[in-house]
Symmetry: D2
Subunit: 307 residues, 4 copies
Amino acid sequence: MSWDWLMEELSPGEIVLRGIKRVETWVTTEYQEVAVVEIEGLGKTLVIDGKVQSSLYDEFVYHEALVHPAMVTHGRPRRVLIIGGGEGATLREVLRYKCVEEAIMVDIDRRVVELAKTLLPEWHDGAFDDPRAKVLFMDGRRYVEGAAARGESFDVVVVDVVDPLAGGPAVKLYTVEFYKLLKKLVGERGIMVTQATSPDHYPQVYFTVARTIAEVFDIVRPYVVSVRSFGGVWGFVLGSASGDPKALRSEEVDKKLTELLESAREKLRFYDGETHASLFNLPKHYRRMLSEPRRPSRDEEPVEALY
Amino acid sequence: MSWDWLMEELSPGEIVLRGIKRVETWVTTEYQEVAVVEIEGLGKTLVIDGKVQSSLYDEFVYHEALVHPAMVTHGRPRRVLIIGGGEGATLREVLRYKCVEEAIMVDIDRRVVELAKTLLPEWHDGAFDDPRAKVLFMDGRRYVEGAAARGESFDVVVVDVVDPLAGGPAVKLYTVEFYKLLKKLVGERGIMVTQATSPDHYPQVYFTVARTIAEVFDIVRPYVVSVRSFGGVWGFVLGSASGDPKALRSEEVDKKLTELLESAREKLRFYDGETHASLFNLPKHYRRMLSEPRRPSRDEEPVEALY
Amino acid sequence: MSWDWLMEELSPGEIVLRGIKRVETWVTTEYQEVAVVEIEGLGKTLVIDGKVQSSLYDEFVYHEALVHPAMVTHGRPRRVLIIGGGEGATLREVLRYKCVEEAIMVDIDRRVVELAKTLLPEWHDGAFDDPRAKVLFMDGRRYVEGAAARGESFDVVVVDVVDPLAGGPAVKLYTVEFYKLLKKLVGERGIMVTQATSPDHYPQVYFTVARTIAEVFDIVRPYVVSVRSFGGVWGFVLGSASGDPKALRSEEVDKKLTELLESAREKLRFYDGETHASLFNLPKHYRRMLSEPRRPSRDEEPVEALY
Amino acid sequence: MSWDWLMEELSPGEIVLRGIKRVETWVTTEYQEVAVVEIEGLGKTLVIDGKVQSSLYDEFVYHEALVHPAMVTHGRPRRVLIIGGGEGATLREVLRYKCVEEAIMVDIDRRVVELAKTLLPEWHDGAFDDPRAKVLFMDGRRYVEGAAARGESFDVVVVDVVDPLAGGPAVKLYTVEFYKLLKKLVGERGIMVTQATSPDHYPQVYFTVARTIAEVFDIVRPYVVSVRSFGGVWGFVLGSASGDPKALRSEEVDKKLTELLESAREKLRFYDGETHASLFNLPKHYRRMLSEPRRPSRDEEPVEALY
């Protein structure tokens, strides 16, 4: 049995302990405490501020679920913006698409990306060296404000940042104001998607994010996957002005993947047409939660994960 | 913060601690240690031998997922057998169907059912008093052997027993021999379904159960739901001689529910046509696991959850 | 292995988990949450607000260490005041002395004493029925203020209350003002003693209590014992106007015990002359801590256990 | 709050969790898993096979308690043998004595000593470089057998090895046969002392070790100290052919320390005459345990810490 354990509080009164077999790295950056550890059952794992970010066991579930529905629904994304995503795995999934000409990734913490480059090759898989990739180190909100002011446009925006912890740096990356900026960036044909915490552990946050995106985008598709590394169900929300992932049939998805990814298609481990077909039919109790009235999150009174 | 905690080892090196707000009951029966406790975030919870059996937070997810796909796929179940299911919630779901004429529930532990009657009204919801219900206290395997010998027949058999823990009482409720007996009971039109542990925490068990049922039934449909009380993804396997749940469209399911359940339909909280539509498309990595060669579990060398 | 665990934070970053074999009682009184549980290795245990108060394993160590040095040093205590001590075990030890004519116990929580009477017979051992015992339910500080105003006098005062947790009810039972009141009660020949938290887990509190008592009493004797149920070393402080426990030789203590306790002497399990001899020689590092300058705790700015 | 925790099972059903602030080193040697970590409240800590060996918080308590009573009781030790003691702190305490001409330390694990040299300067404090120190890497039992065969003699032997865990390497360092060899080495004037597990957590082991040494040495003095890093009381047993530590008065001890240690005396943080005076008066319940009949530990049926 391990003597060294990672303790993570999933919600008040709900703690997960995970046996650590090895601590590879443990550094304090300007913004956060970053560790790479080997965990029993999960393998190599990135831990930021004591929270599991992703592990070799199922990072592919999280990252494929985050990226592909938006990309495939768009149909031919050329310019993609990633907010966050320091490990490089979101970038990796985006760059699988031949049609992508430019992928801009904006992460606040240069140090995390540097660590990822050397310590997490299984995550980025060389993505940082792709000539189509451009990595900027700055606050995501500030980048988006600037890009909107400059009139830039993107086909897909992927938001892969930490939860809106009260007092944390990500609170204003989940508000109406932020999504309006994203709307400007993606225009009438583009799509945005964001990780959105766990509907089990932070229901108030998850369903408010869905409600907030609905304030800005006509088509809103919340979806969930099960991520053992995160202790259960994990939620995403996709916002779109025109394309609707729920309207895509399984065969269409597979066909598009074949066109867009070519040989890379075989590398996907979680996502394909059949997976897609299950993602956008939420169980009834989640639909009930979605239908309840809720105040959208706004800059001046944002939703926060409160513990 | 709680001072009293439930500690459950989900897999080696993976422990969940849950704050206990109250211990209602804690008794040792002839077969097991049974407690009813109030857990932070989960509410009233049944704990057997230190393992969460189900909680008010999401027992409906587990029990509806276990019962309804088989019932709806059958189309008009009249006689249903439940192996296990002491809390009475599986019985409750079965009895929602007007067409059910007799539901026989066989549980080894009389004491658990007695406790459930008084302490878990939210679970059984009066099901034990339904004149169509018949509860027997004996070993499930022995009952099934006798019933097969007597030539009894059932439309649906629901297996709701504990995991096949090494040395535990349920090991022979997951073998080829057992499923052959069930096949005899359900004949050419019937359906069986079983809970089948977690594909994350016991992948070897889960996928072996699917493989084992495939040895006996032509149509095998593994499916999963996320159950926070169980610490993540939970798996089921449905075996059928003719009807295929995956072939049912969302609207058909809703139509059948309306016919079969009438007014009760509104009471379902997890399951409906849209939920059904997502259940039978497993993500790609589970399909890959299913396609790997595996030895079926047999009485003389059964699959076991080994820790 | 247990599934039910008591979690106690001994100090920041230091947590003890103890396997619970049984929860006997768990009630919320007007003042606190009280439970009687059976703990692995400790046996029956009283838990208040999530903290182990005492267990059958070593309650005798705590209660004998608290009571006997003061009683024996006094030499012939007739009137004894106990502040706190709800379990009745401190009263039990006091009443072992034939010379004691009256023992007044003042506890704030009537409910705890009522529970102790029925559930903790091993603790009080009938002490509540002794005609010399008088139990009052009120705030200890208020009682002491009244008694001092009325000019009452006691030979020994034993303070057996919870730690001075910030914001808790006991903060003003550890201040200069409180000890001055005790000084009035015990006069020129009497002795007071108090439990005083753990010098390992709350060094600032323990050594401040010693310093505070030194502000009022000429002779101050801090002493410690090891109490496994409390997770390590536990501290007491004795204040005296004349008698000095450190001056008593081992044989004198045994002689006095024989005189004062008669047949009861054999019942002592922890304390006797030899035990006494070791109590008042603190290890060097504790003496160094005692010699450091410290502000005494005062009502307007009391020392508090801060987490 | 920490996310990284050291989990140590002190006894069945008794677990301590300690927050880790930093992992400095973590290596697997030929014999064991060795880590140096920074623990909340304890500071730098050596962990071997998941068990805290000693921490900066109170390693001085353990090492001074282990070494000085034997050294002072002997009165003029010239040749000292240390079995185990890889950190170098036992050697450090031994070398404080001017009269020591040779200190032979025998540890099985060369790697631990090498790590200690670079990572634990606070422990060895340069002791490995003292010309009087001689460090050998071999099994302690084998060394002692050879030394006894060669007719070597020592004034003091200090046994500072791990607990006799069932199946572990130290079981035969706690038996009658081993102590007979030590008796040969120390002759009629010498003294041996051993760490002997916790009387709270392994009472059967502790009191058996005392009983076993009593089989060989005329004077046997068990004594205990409180070591927070070890989760409570820790036990030692001293065996002597002539000198008796319990006969030494406080002033004699201080006088000897002044003679033997000179300027170094001030460096002792735990031990002095007053500390000595409290060490050899055990509380009554320990004396009762010591007086119970017990089988000594023998090579063919040794006492073992069983979990």
